[in-house]
Subunit: 645 residues, 2 copies
Amino acid sequence: MTLTEGLREVLDGPFGALRQRFRAELPAELFAPLPPDATIEEHRAETWRRLEILASTGMQVLPGVEPVAAFELLGHANLSLFVKVGVQFGLFAGVVKNLGTQRHHDDVLPHALDLTLPGCFAMTETGHGSDVQGLLTTATYEADTDELVINSPVPAARKEYIGNAARDARVAATFAQLIVDGINHGVHCILVPIRDEHGAALPGVTITDCGEKLGLLGVDNGRLMFDQVRVPRTNLLNQYGNIVPSKGDDPLEPPIRADNYRSGAYVSPIESRNRRFFTMLGTLVRGRVTVGGAGAAAARSALTLAVGYGLRRRQFPNPLAEDGDMLLLDYQAHQLKLLPLVARSYVLQSAQHDLVAALERVESGDFGGDEDHARRELEARAAGLKAVQTRHATDTIQTCREACGGAGYMAVNQFANLKADTDVFTTFEGDNTVLLQLLGKSLLTQYARDVAELDPVGIARFVARQVTGTVVEHVGGGVVQRLLAGAPANADKALVDRGGQLAILTDREQHLLDGLAQRLRAAPKGDPVASARLYNESQDHLLAAAEAHVERISLEAYLEATADENATDPEVRQILDLVADLYVHDVVFQHRAWFLEHGRLTPNQSKEVVRRRSALCAELRPHATALVDAFAIPPAWLPNELLDA
Amino acid sequence: MTLTEGLREVLDGPFGALRQRFRAELPAELFAPLPPDATIEEHRAETWRRLEILASTGMQVLPGVEPVAAFELLGHANLSLFVKVGVQFGLFAGVVKNLGTQRHHDDVLPHALDLTLPGCFAMTETGHGSDVQGLLTTATYEADTDELVINSPVPAARKEYIGNAARDARVAATFAQLIVDGINHGVHCILVPIRDEHGAALPGVTITDCGEKLGLLGVDNGRLMFDQVRVPRTNLLNQYGNIVPSKGDDPLEPPIRADNYRSGAYVSPIESRNRRFFTMLGTLVRGRVTVGGAGAAAARSALTLAVGYGLRRRQFPNPLAEDGDMLLLDYQAHQLKLLPLVARSYVLQSAQHDLVAALERVESGDFGGDEDHARRELEARAAGLKAVQTRHATDTIQTCREACGGAGYMAVNQFANLKADTDVFTTFEGDNTVLLQLLGKSLLTQYARDVAELDPVGIARFVARQVTGTVVEHVGGGVVQRLLAGAPANADKALVDRGGQLAILTDREQHLLDGLAQRLRAAPKGDPVASARLYNESQDHLLAAAEAHVERISLEAYLEATADENATDPEVRQILDLVADLYVHDVVFQHRAWFLEHGRLTPNQSKEVVRRRSALCAELRPHATALVDAFAIPPAWLPNELLDA
């Protein structure tokens, strides 16, 4: 086994065989860039054609989470196709599967999966993007006709940026406030036909095209307005909220308690409206998991191109270069630009696999303990990793574009597409700032539970930790080990010890949460305005805690994936260790002001982090080719101009 | 005078009347976005048409530096036009003016300025981008015919990314190694006709199109290869390097000493080949000054759009919002994204005016003392400000795009164009990393001179400063005032005192240079490889010093521009002061790890910087509209969808 192959196996983790099959079987034509003068309609038509080719491989009906682990690789080279896959199979077919019942699984799902029924996922509205609970579209049950009436009462209720809506979709899985008997039961999803078989909008449905976007030209985003559109009651995806039929003997699915069984009544297996809402929103989790993975895949493409260029392009004569001009990647500044991002890509790939495994456990019911808890934890983790990975993608692709100079600006070298197509990832499928807050709030909730569950000794220890933290901060010196059990005796040693590294990131997360909880505890009871102000003023603290959590769990995932038993080859082992070291030093480098402010590092230790991070880049430099080759992106998927000498 | 007008006057600085005229007189059609399906040829043709409209205003022949101060405003809304202006009037006409002599000024310049002679500036080569001294194109003088033979001896000598070359230019100002009598006299510039009047390539000239780019679709970048192309000797732009005519009685310009006057000889008023090279490269300075300014102008457009959207778009119910959903800009996280960038835009605008004023002094010969020194300082400052302003542009436009969510991704809202068109600014007209190194080296040179010029007392003081610095770092506590004369007695007070703020940034720059000089002094004499390694390992240090310099001079420029006598209105005064405070706190915030590592801030002081930066954003929030309105971007230049309620 070659070094590259050894690294690739670690990177592919539990999905190696699947991903190798995906790389081998997907025809290269799916990834060929369109000619520069292609019209938007040509982009859309070609993307649909490629979606059909992809569907013919049957990979969209792979079992369990396999499609998630495979389709993120589309992010390497065709983001429009990735998004179309996500909209049709992930969101549309997914919501039918997750929120629908047997009849929908029988009548709708097969057509969604074989593309005979193109659909869209109509959640976002012009007036409400991130705030789904505030959606304005209504679905009013009319007992007389046993129908639901879908309506957009105001312009702000217009469905906005809906993928597949402008051209292809014939049905919209429409999120609306469900009103039964004059009572609003909150957001539900209803299948609403929007186009006839010839592609014309159906009566009462107004479809407009969002027009040209910054990128993703192959995705037909559109807007939908509904003017009292009638659909049968059975179009309600009724897994978690149902209406007892007003006529006929349609069996009610899922079965509910007989005493609620009143004709025309709203019934739900979930009593709490809030909990019902979040259960339905759980359908978004697959999308977020996959978007984060695809963003990271795009970043790996950019790094493959930029590292390759840095190993080919020479600039300025230098005594360090034997034959005159020096390779770009031999300059320290160039190494510092690219190699920490390579290390981060490795670590995030492991975190992504871990997330997919968590998704699999939840979807298959294989969680120890409380289902709600497992779901909430999955959603929080998916939100956080989506935010961190898409941020990583945007930053990395930009850095790589610049690292290739003028060549990076030429459309043929594909940075233009990678940049433009992934750009929206930071704000769609949940805005990153909103998602990190979601994670942060979830961590706080868990934190409150942890404290609540402590026995008196635990509480005493908890308080002691607060005090220690405070004291250490005030004396301004201190080292990491004082705060951590099991870590080496000082920060210098902790930084080169796996347990110590983990302890450093764990301590940061924990201390941020401690501080946040203390800060928010000061909120005056019964004064919502003052509490809201305090909360608003702590947003930066909340976001930092969420980010620290993702950094810690990512390192954990990487250290598990690269444990000795998974990487026995000494050369592979050495490189994986350097990657872990560089990741940790880069994270500490980025946050070293915090470590200094909180007495976790002395000034000299912090300077050593700066020095060591540079040194680690130099140590990884000889392995640069192997590091990016292990990303295993099929050469036919990438442009070759930058890489060929 | 309104508040907005008061702020605008400060922002426009010495060029208020000129810029107001530019805003009023330039027809809005110059800024209308092209339809999304426009072809590249349509973009190019329309951009040329707009260039003609612009030329008809006569602004390209404004006196002195006025075109520089005015044309940066094109960066608000039409970057392709900006670049075409820069190539035709700045680079092409500029090099004719600066490197040419009377005959070129008479015969060529008027046609360059009235667009009857479209030209290009052919410097960059496929094999050499940043390393101009290493260019491979040759211009060999043939005494028999009194001609220069222009040749591209190898594929790497191909001229690359040349603006105007693919479609419009008829002449290329070509940089080539000038060979006379078999001796290479270094890089010179020669006017080489490349197209006939019908647009066909001339014999021996191969022109290819660089094709589609990430942005700047209106700019026709091309490649040029020369196969033994002959031009008259008089096509050499011969201000700083000349050839004595081998025949005829063509008067030699500029006049040179008679004893060098040998037929067919190379002669130059500048003996040092290196100095001659840098004198010729001085022609690049105007381009760099203008590109930095245009990048900053594009950032101001993005901020105008994003701040406007943040003051219109509501998301999530919140007790802090009286009428339900909260405005985006009332969230702390949103303020922290946008308002420090607004403050930075204010400060950089002043720095840009200062730079243009320095350009004016050098161009008009109004420098105290040594011309070489004044030019080098100008070039270093222009390089640094170009790098910092274009980095600011890329980061700001990205942040603003994201702050507008899905709306930011729609092409109609223009972030797509702003992003794509300015993206190349970080790497063209000098790669930012290379430019910051150029500045850093210049600061080091100046530093060495300062030390060399010290008398014994000065040297003693200098050494004392080193020691103090070291001691303070080692005890790990310390406050800024110990290191600085004239600043308040502690860092807390220095941070809220103008002199203290300046002292803080000055101290950082100085200490970075001190440390760098000490570090490089360890280079072993006579061991070029070891020295080169040491230098390479100090690249991050050098880049940090250069950035610190730009931050310091930018604050100086802003404080001068906003001195009491320039802003007497109390409300204007208050806002300008808040902007200064936010800028300083943001700079210290970004670098607070360094301040902690070097004993300039205690941990508690550093935490206070974090807190105060947030508080300053909240204090500036009520003035957000005035702050961006004062950018005075004509509404017709910007899209209106995000700003209209």
